[in-house]
Symmetry: C2
């Protein structure tokens, strides 16, 4: 319950706990044990307890955790008590999917600006928001107080886009571009790389020859 500094590994699991807790609340449960949370999140109970202990001593021995209270504490820790303004740069298939993704708004992430340099896309409206050229990124992102930028452009322009986002005051970037991005100190960067994910799957599949063969050979 030192409470100062939550390990990265813990932070990465908090959203999962939050989701499980919200589901438990919807089922009408008032309290939940670390055992139950572990089961729902697919992890080990000791880990749940240690993770939660980094936020504070919010459990009750012999009882468990109060669901509503813990939901509030995790939301607060994650910074979800405020809404976040998001800009999506690049409205190809993926960018459009992201712009329209319902899970964002439901969790307090609101897409407020869309950018693309394809003349065929500029001016179009997606989910009620007009697509603007990236030349306007600096002014528009600042004006709309964008805090989070999502990069869904081809790799070649991703670094320029990231630079423009940083210049516009954006301090958090989520990139889907298949390239390494460099951002200044203090800007948080996370990356999702689809073909990298598939290549990792490929590795693991290739190294399970017996199982793969078993399954291929099993009856219809």
């Amino acid at each position: 319950m030192t409470h100062r500094h939550v390990p990265d590994a813990t932070v990465a699991r908090l959203p999962q706990y939050l989701r499980s807790l919200v589901e438990e609340a919807e089922r009408g449960r008032a309290t939940v044990s670390s055992e139950r949370l572990a089961e729902l999140g697919g992890v080990n109970a000791a880990k749940v307890r240690k993770d939660l202990s980094h936020l504070g001593s919010y459990g009750t021995r012999g009882v468990g955790y109060d669901v509503e209270f813990l939901v509030y504490q995790i939301r607060r820790e994650l910074g979800l008590t405020q809404d976040w303004a998001v800009a999506v740069v690049g409205v190809g298939n993926l960018g459009r999917a992201l712009a329209g993704f319902g899970g964002f708004r439901a969790r307090g992430f609101q897409v407020v600006a869309l950018f693309d340099d394809d003349p065929a896309k500029v001016g179009r409206r997606i989910e009620g928001i007009e697509v603007r050229p990236t030349a306007e990124l600096a002014s528009l992102a600042a004006e709309r107080q964008v805090q989070i930028g999502i990069v869904a452009t081809p790799a070649e322009v991703a670094q320029d886009v990231a630079d423009a986002l940083v210049a516009a005051g954006v301090t958090s970037i989520l990139s889907f571009a298949p390239t390494v991005l460099h951002v200044p100190e203090g800007v948080v960067l996370r990356k999702v790389d689809l073909s990298m994910e598939l290549q990792i799957l490929s590795f693991h599949s290739s190294h399970q020859p017996q199982l793969a063969a078993d399954r291929a050979a099993r009856p219809g």
Copy 2:
């Protein structure tokens, strides 16, 4: 150079090294040092050397690594010397984006089947492939020798879809559904969760108040 068992952390970086190496090859470089690879991949040179040493002793002291040779070795280790047949389940915005993603085919991942239960989508063709109802998953995935399944459905049906994929002989699953999935031993599961990524960004942003304030206050 023990070569047996490559750590997970190393496997996760191999695709990045591979990409950097291919780019170096395109620039006409015949050899590359761990220092250079580290710079391109945004990591530390000692880590590159240790990672590569898990595959074998493929470098030359005083010289570096032969680019073409290392590309081949990493490809082989990742199982990319064969093509992989991929099925995408759920052709909403995200599923369509994935089905059309050029980066997959370029790396040997070919989408060979699409599934969705929305009657408005069944029968439509996307990238030349007809969307079929998930009831046909078992037969069609087996028939087309699908090895990798991508789950891009709502959370509610994701577990059923995963079960159906496993039953059809799929041994690797990449899920975009915002829920915990359970798969039997021997099936590899990876997960990409968009709102979780944003929540992690939110945490880091919230815990940099001074920097956020600085940037908001800066001129221009």
